[in-house]
Symmetry: C2
Subunit: 219 residues, 2 copies
DNA sequence: GCAACATTCTAACACTTGTTAGATTGTGCG
DNA sequence: CGCACAATCTAACAAGTGTTAGAATGTTGC
């Protein structure tokens, strides 16, 4: 009957998760890992940080049990510990967007192209993609596409987009998506497509948001 | 076309929310505020910390926009900025419980009484309470009951429970709840009731969990 | 075994945070 | 006005964190 000792430890354990979410670099790593399993080197490159720093942050995430790793040859692959971790990231991000005006302003600045989904629902987009009314392209690296992508989407990584424009049907409307609202790849893809005469839009949602909304993902 | 500057700031803003969640004391304050608006003094008392420390933590929560305050005479009342903040707390706690074995073990230690809801659903409990088959008691302080409580529940604060036992129908099964799984008040209530010959159980869920599950709350 | 390489560990630094105690602000009431 | 009191501000210190660079570990392939 001395709850104070054990009681306080309950919140301390939860605070371990909070501490893991308290660094911008770690949040970026979580978002990258939400796109699929990656090696330390890949994560460091894509987050734009030193490999040793990435390793240190991954260690912190691992100690909070938000990520797991496995060795495959010389490489160590990291992944999120579960879908709930990806959803927690979305939840924290949504709360930040809802309450921090500065974040909303910053998001408006980076997003040049208007969001298609603001007008139409995810389901109707899915229907249009199914019947071939529009062509949905996934502009993330191909490995992320392979780890899971929107139905009817084809892989068209941003780096290869320019030389693969011929693969896109000329008249069709093109809808691009990437990792989510913090990712600028779909914006850049839309900008490029428009200078080449395409009718292009983006969806802010990435695979994580799509999946959290209860919609299907293909592999 | 220099996304790195503005890009990194996006994660920094979200990390502000993470930092607010990175301290056990602040998490405890959030859980207390999820039960309803409270003054700084009340929060400090219930969290078992100095008023000045509570004020400092509340300032941090306010700067992360997770809480708001309003003055009423000599007292300043704090409240969560929205229902989404309470749900974020639940989400972080759930992830911690899912991935941190230590937390699950600690929870098992403090919870002497078995959870009624592990066996039966929230809906069937609601139905039994409606038809008077069981009596549901809210053992939190009365002000929290008034801020919102489960349907058909009656206020019976833990401190007054012993001298108000006569109000409880003798034969009926009693179901107690409090602030949630981290709160020991319902366990203590169940222990007391059983020594007095009542058939008593608890529900681990508090008002926040109930509400997040889409179930109704009364005022 | 050895070289190559991915990853982690260690040490060190500036920086931030949690906590305590004392001083200060600001409101209500006589 | 001036006292009582809720809440915040300030200063100070120990403890923890993010980052960098160099050293060490462990695996692959010869």
């Amino acid at each position: 009957m001395k709850p104070s000792i054990t009681k306080s430890s309950l919140y301390e354990h939860v605070a371990r998760i909070g501490k893991a979410l308290a660094s911008p670099k770690r949040l970026e790593l979580i978002e990258l890992l939400a796109q699929g399993e990656k090696t330390v080197e890949t994560l460091a490159q894509q987050a734009g940080i030193d490999v040793r720093l990435a390793s240190a942050h991954l260690k912190a995430l691992r100690e909070a049990r938000l990520v797991e790793n496995r060795r495959e040859g010389k490489f160590i692959h990291y992944r999120l510990s579960g879908q709930d971790v990806a959803e927690l990231w979305l939840n924290v991000r949504d709360v930040a967007e809802a309450h921090l005006l500065e974040l909303r302003l910053a998001l408006e600045q980076i997003s040049a192209a208007p969001d298609l989904l603001s007008a139409e629902s995810r389901e109707s987009l899915l229907a249009k993609a199914r019947c071939g009314d529009i062509v949905v392209i996934d502009v993330r690296p191909e490995s992320e596409y392979e780890a899971g992508h929107l139905p009817f989407a084809r892989s068209m990584p941003l780096g290869e987009l320019e030389k693969r424009l011929a693969e896109l049907p000329a008249g069709k409307e093109v809808v691009a998506y990437c990792r989510g609202p913090f990712c600028v790849m779909s914006d850049e893809a839309v900008a490029l497509l428009r200078t080449r005469g395409f009718s292009a839009h983006k969806i802010t949602d990435g695979v994580t948001e799509w999946q959290a909304g209860g919609l299907p993902i293909e592999r």
